[in-house]
Assembly symmetry: C2
Homo-oligomer: 207 residues x 2
């Protein structure tokens, strides 16, 4: 911990290590004593940094949503074409889910039943904002296609989240399907499901 | 418990109640004492029925896979047409995920990190068998289409599992999207992603 003088970097380091302990032992099974040891702090020091066990879990999930913003949204904010923006959003989200470094964080973010009350509502609020971003972008892509929408943007947004978030259950980067192939196949599958054709076919059709 | 003289029915009742306790408190957070109380047995009586806490978790997951067989596979086994069989498989799987009665069972089945060693391998073996069933059926549908496959049956099978299993994260039967609409939209979305067109369009095209 000693090398991390920036409070934000220090909190993130604590979150990452604590996420690993929660992932291995479960939220209820992991004690603050174990987490403090893993982080290299005294138990009092850990409480000083994170407040409480509930708040630590909240900070981990909040960090997970920060990474989502940084990995996905920051990279696409200057893309004007809705179709290309959606394509890059899907690739960025896949990148986040499959990278091993943050596996524990993203798993904890999905399995968020342990968080209660106001803290849970704060995380759900950030999740809803992401779903709304996807819905709006999908609606733009549907409009751009010039054809009647085949399904509601809400359903399409949750289908996309299912396709991509479920990767953590089965996809292994060291397996036979490389990440580039996975990204291309997922983008094409989603666009066909949404529009009936892929971005490339759409470009050919409109040119 | 007194009304359930059939040992299998009794075990299922225990599984269902215990799943609710695990769902609420987490696997590590729930004690065998609490589960025994919820089931209406003494702690010794519960151990007599289920052997150990690990084995109880295994029985819950095994029961979850039994329900999958009964709800999905048993209903489609006499359907000859691959496209119709896949359509009914998707509808059956959706039915299983969205029905409130077994919510806790299906959630526990997905979040299976608490199970270890041989018991975990047994559940994973049953899960693999289901994935293989989906892969084979999807490959048949691709072959039946008479066109080159647009993606590997393996990827398509996991995309389908992502679409359907993720429903537990967001879909509420009492919301604005009814189950019939959800089923229709999901079948159409998946078939478009797989083949580029829906079952109905395929029937029209080949007739």
């Amino acid at each position: 911990m000693s090398g991390l003088s920036d409070p934000k970097a220090r909190l993130r380091e604590i979150c990452r290590i604590a996420a690993r302990v929660f992932y291995e032992k479960g939220y209820d099974g992991a004690s603050m004593q174990e987490i403090a040891q893993a982080v290299g702090l005294t138990k009092a020091g850990l409480y000083h940094h994170v407040g409480s066990k509930d708040n630590l879990l909240f900070e981990i999930m909040n960090y997970g949503m920060d990474i989502l913003d940084e990995t996905v949204l920051a990279r696409v904010q200057n893309i004007q074409d809705p179709r290309e923006k959606l394509r890059q959003t899907i690739l960025g989200h896949i990148d986040l889910i499959v990278r091993a470094r943050d596996l524990e964080i993203t798993v904890i973010l999905h399995e968020n039943r342990s968080l209660q009350g106001e803290l849970r509502e704060k995380i759900n609020c950030r999740k809803r904002a992401y779903v709304n971003y996807l819905k709006d972008l999908i609606a733009e892509v549907q409009k751009q296609s010039g054809r009647p929408a085949l399904l509601s943007p809400t359903l399409a947004a949750f289908y996309l989240l299912g396709l991509v978030n479920w990767l953590y259950q089965w996809y292994r980067p060291e397996g036979t399907i490389g990440q580039a192939e996975l990204g291309r196949a997922t983008v094409e599958f989603f666009f066909r499901g949404l529009l009936g054709y892929t971005p490339e076919e759409g470009t050919r059709a409109s040119s």
